[in-house]
Amino acid sequence: MKAAVVVYPGSNCDRDTYHALKLTGFDVDYAYFFDQDLSFEGYDLVVLPGGFSYGDYLRPGAVAARENISRKVKEFAENGGLLLGICNGFQVLMEMGLLPGALLQNEKGKFICRWVDLVVEDNTTPFTLAFKKGEKIRLPIAHGFGRYVKVGEPRVVFRYRENVNGSDEKIAGVASESGNILGLMPHPERASEEILGGEDGRKVFLSIAEYLESRGAEK
């Protein structure tokens, strides 16, 4: 199981995500923005971590979505690779047009960092196999621009149980129709160890591992 964590300039959850993937048993590499020869060949999973890529100075994720490394990310996903975008990574996926909708400033205009209650709406994606459908879980959020605005009918994977940021239909995470791309605002990597307050997030990484193992067995 080989995973790459993309490091954009301004990413700041790259090391946290690396740590959580390691704990789950992945071989993990960083994919740095300054590495010209970067390739995702041979990787099973690419993660776009949280942070403030390019300072989020224009719109969150906008600049990152249009640079070289992102073209390779897109190619990887179009070939069926598993692509996970967390927080700023989710915003990048939106800006890349890989997931439908947009993420705008929170309803109250303020950054929010807290644990929130969620429900797993779809446990058939490679990222959510280990959950039960309708399972109630707790994950941290930390974002200023997490208000999901719906375009069309997205494949909703996670939903907040209460209105936390004004998202349409309390949507917290969506997947591509094909299911190999997931974006979510909450941080599963921050809920991967009991000492940090919970382990529900770890199940996202365990799901991916389970999926990859079963796929490997099929092959």
């Binding site: 719109r59 249009r66 947009a102 309803e107 605005v149 375009v151 004004g166």
Partner: protein, 82 residues
């Protein structure tokens, strides 16, 4: 080649909520007693480009809006020559 100056006004589409604008509108109405009917907050981007003609400059600005500066999913824009 000459330098052309533009102001790009970016607004969220009018069917989208603008929580910041709503908040400021409420403050203006309730605390300052100003009868604001509508208030929306967008952003302005000032650019200077070098081009052979004003038409070429306008094309360049349009391109940068579509490539990066504007998110067509939720935003609209207008370009003003200065």
């Amino acid at each position: 080649m000459s330098v052309y100056k533009f102001m790009i006004d970016v607004q969220y589409k009018s069917n989208l909520r603008d929580p910041r604008g709503e908040t400021i509108k409420r403050v203006l109405k309730e605390e300052h007693g100003v009868p604001v009917k509508e208030l929306r907050i967008g952003k302005s981007i000032y650019v200077e480009v070098e081009a052979a003609s004003s038409d070429e400059a306008k094309e360049l600005v349009k391109k940068m809006c579509e490539d990066l500066l504007v998110n067509p999913v939720v935003e609209t824009y207008e370009v003003r020559s200065l």
